[in-house]
């Protein structure tokens, strides 16, 4: 041991940067860093030079100029006189609508299919396998087009509802009309309209909506108080007070009162001129996109749920059965809580996928962010780079928000390690 020379005394030579283990990793890190920076610099420099050659500038000023085109589905008021920025926001809201609806429906369907695939009924389990394999293994774009084609080709056009002896008739007591353009559903109308809260930029919330939200949230908090009071009473006396009618009352009575006060009622759509008016026309492009995204993503979620359930060892359910728990309570109280910590992380990816996949909307003419900012605005202004950069940033922020929200949820359900 004594004849090994102390490395600190060896004079530093350049070859040691590669040959000496102490310096080698540092050397390569520096090289990779320089290469990455050089590649980044080259990309930016190339962009700037080519933009200059084409006589173009990098400028987001176009967002404040008049858009000049119309959008079929506008969650906030929008006309052709509004700016490209507002058109992009309308597109973003349309993206969010289909993404939120899709995530909810895909989760519900996915959990049902995933659990059913483990069913003891042979036929039922196999049917679910077929569902998963069909929707998981064909491209999403095809499913969107197929669902859309089914709607446009099979449903009757609006004018089939016309005349004394129409070829088509409305369903649900003349309240819903299925057409090859949209599904016309009743809207909620009020006889005593309390007016709206103006948030500026022509975005308004009706006071009635706000009142209902307050009533429901307040009812939920009161219900929680009632339940915790019942728990305290049970702990103290051993007798649990009857709570179900109180809970039912706080959740429904305020809403019923509000319905009576505002004179809330359904207003059925009716055929006026070319189209149904008076109701809400949910376009087939939205329904097709939503259904296809739901079915496709549900197939993946089903597999995630199945994997999560299978990851809980058999001993857990056997122990639960031994304690006398019925199968559905075993699932709800023992298996699912443990399975959730395996399910949540991949579920986040599926939500992100669904949100990003919604940009295929243009295939069926649904005006999402890709259709407004990345489609018509990009084309009318010729600002390709700016529009694409803005779109990338928007999707990035959207994805980060979704995943951070889901990470908070994940932190709550994951195994508590102490």
């Amino acid at each position: 041991m004594t004849d090994v020379p102390a490395p600190a005394h060896a004079p530093f030579r350049l070859s040691m940067l590669v040959n000496d283990r102490r310096y080698r990793s540092l050397t390569f890190q520096v090289i990779v860093f320089i290469l990455v920076m050089a590649a980044g610099w080259w990309l930016i420099d190339n962009t700037i030079r080519n933009l200059a050659l084409m006589g173009k500038s990098f400028d987001f000023g176009f967002l404040w100029s008049r858009a000049g085109y119309d959008i079929s589905q506008t969650p906030i008021p929008y006309t052709a006189d509004d700016t490209h920025l507002r058109a992009s926001v309308v597109g973003l809201l349309n993206t969010l609508i289909v993404a939120v609806l899709g995530c909810i429906a895909a989760t519900v369907l996915g959990v049902i299919v995933g659990v059913s695939r483990l069913s003891k009924s042979w036929l039922f389990a196999r049917l679910m396998t077929v569902f998963v394999e069909i929707f998981r293994n064909m491209p999403l774009l095809l499913w969107i087009l197929i669902v859309y084609a089914i709607f446009t080709e099979i449903m009757p056009p609006p004018n089939a509802y016309r005349g004394d002896d129409p070829a088509a008739s409305m369903i649900f007591f003349d309240h819903v009309a299925l057409t090859n353009r949209y599904t016309s559903i009743p809207t909620l109308a009020m006889t005593n309209d309390p007016g709206s809260l103006d948030l500026g930029a022509r975005i308004t919330f009706n006071w009635a909506t706000i009142a209902f939200v307050v009533a429901l949230v307040g009812g939920w908090f009161i219900r929680r108080a009632i339940l915790s009071h019942a728990q305290t009473m049970q702990d103290r006396t051993g007798d649990r007070p009857v709570t179900w009618w109180k809970n039912l009352a706080v959740m429904t009575v305020p809403s019923l009162v509000l319905i009576w006060v505002f004179g809330l009622h359904f207003e059925a759509p009716s055929l006026q001129g070319f189209n149904f008016t008076g109701g809400l026309n949910v376009s087939n492009s939205l329904v097709a996109l939503w259904l296809a995204l739901t079915l496709y993503t549900a197939a993946f979620i089903a597999e995630i749920v199945r994997a999560g359930i299978l990851s809980v060892s058999r001993g857990q359910s056997e122990a639960a059965f031994a304690l006398g728990l019925r199968p559905n309570r075993t699932m709800n109280l023992v298996i699912l809580p443990q399975a959730l910590r395996v399910i949540i992380p991949p579920l986040i990816s599926q939500y992100l996928n669904l949100t990003k996949n919604s940009s295929l909307a243009i295939a069926v003419g649904y005006m999402d962010l890709r259709g407004t900012l990345g489609g018509t605005t990009l084309n009318q202004t010729g600002r390709e780079l700016e529009a694409i950069v803005l779109m990338m940033l928007t999707y990035l922020v959207l994805s980060l928000i979704i995943s951070s929200g889901m990470n908070v949820f994940n932190a709550r359900v994951k195994l508590k390690e102490r």
Partner: protein, 342 residues
């Protein structure tokens, strides 16, 4: 191993850099000559203007212009690679260098000429936006379309005209945005929209492809000016000149009565000095833009003059059945007016 990764990175960077350089080269003519093929951006499929036939050969009014240009520059009307572009991709395809010339029913507008940095070399079809509806709808005027659902191609000037027209007339409509003419046709036929709107020539061409063209009418209102023409990139003036004068040669040939049938005879016997200059028998006009003397002769021989191209692809004898109208020669009361060859 590390060294090979490093060398690979260097090689990849070099390849990318050389691609970027190719972008920067201004001389489109030299590139086309070297490639020995013209990249021409056309419609994804609009019968009469640009569509592949049963054998996969592209035919149509815009296609004929591409072939004439290829004949003028490369000497062979078949040395064209047709690049189908949608309303959304066409200008990017041109400005990125994917195509050398764009002949795709594109409207010459101020912002496209300036802000998008395109150069329109002329007008090969004077058009206007119209509406097509099913005859059984009973609509006879665009003013009766209040509340209608209307199919429209995204990324087109028609999208903006439509919004303006309905606002000006205080009418409502629901747009159904579609990506290509084929999709618009399918949506319209399925009844997903009450009316289909695009340039009137495009409507006629679309209607001609229907199984029963008679049950659809094109409404009389023309709501906009749509001068359609070929476009090139801004900045390469010589290439722009070649594209412009090839179009002018086709138009002038009709004016002077030069057709693909009598051209050989006129080369030998014509005494009209303008025709002699056009056909390159006197003066060396071609050399002024870097071509040979017979460039215009080949361009005209490729598909005939403007009138022959019009008649063969979209004229009254074809299923599309468009009248010359505004697109007649100025001597016939139309707007076609080629600048003098001198």
């Amino acid at each position: 191993m590390k060294k090979s990764v490093f060398l690979g990175t260097v090689a990849a960077t070099t390849v990318l850099a050389s691609m970027a350089m190719a972008q920067e080269g201004g001389a489109t003519l030299a590139q086309v000559m070297e490639r020995d093929e013209l990249n021409c951006g056309v419609n994804t499929g609009l019968v009469g203007f640009a569509a592949p036939d049963a054998n996969g050969n592209w035919t149509g009014f815009d296609v004929a212009y591409c072939r004439a240009l290829a004949a003028a520059v490369l000497g062979d009307p078949d040395k064209v690679s047709f690049v189908p572009t949608t309303g959304q991709t066409r200008f990017t395809a041109l400005s990125s260098g994917e195509v050398d010339v764009l002949a795709r029913n594109s409207t010459w507008t101020y912002s496209r000429d300036t802000d998008l940095a395109l150069d329109f070399v002329g007008v090969n079809y004077y058009d206007g936006q119209g509406f097509m509806v099913s005859r059984e709808l009973g609509v006879t005027s665009a003013k009766e379309l209040d509340g209608a659902t209307i199919c429209i191609q995204t990324g087109t000037t028609t999208e903006l005209n439509l919004a303006d027209y309905f606002r000006a007339n205080q009418m409502d409509y629901t747009p159904v945005n579609i990506d290509s003419n084929a999709e618009g046709e399918q949506q319209y036929m399925a009844g997903a929209c009450d009316a289909y709107t695009t340039d009137a020539s495009g409507l006629a061409a679309t209607r001609a492809a229907f199984a029963d063209p008679e049950s659809h009418i094109i409404l009389p209102e023309i709501i906009s000016k749509e001068p359609l023409g070929p476009a090139v990139r801004h900045g390469d003036n010589n290439w722009g000149d070649i594209a412009r004068w090839t179009l002018n040669a086709l138009i002038a040939a009709e004016e002077y009565g030069v057709t693909s049938r009598n051209i050989e005879e006129l080369v030998r016997s014509s005494t009209n000095p303008e025709v002699q200059r056009l056909l390159g028998t006197t003066d060396e006009l071609g050399a002024m833009m870097g071509l040979d003397a017979e460039w215009a002769r080949r361009a005209i021989l490729a598909n005939g003059n403007y009138g022959e191209i019009f008649a063969a692809n979209i004229g009254e004898q074809t299923p599309i059945g468009l009248a010359r109208g505004l697109n007649a020669q100025w001597t016939q009361g139309g707007l076609l007016y080629a600048q003098p060859f001198r």
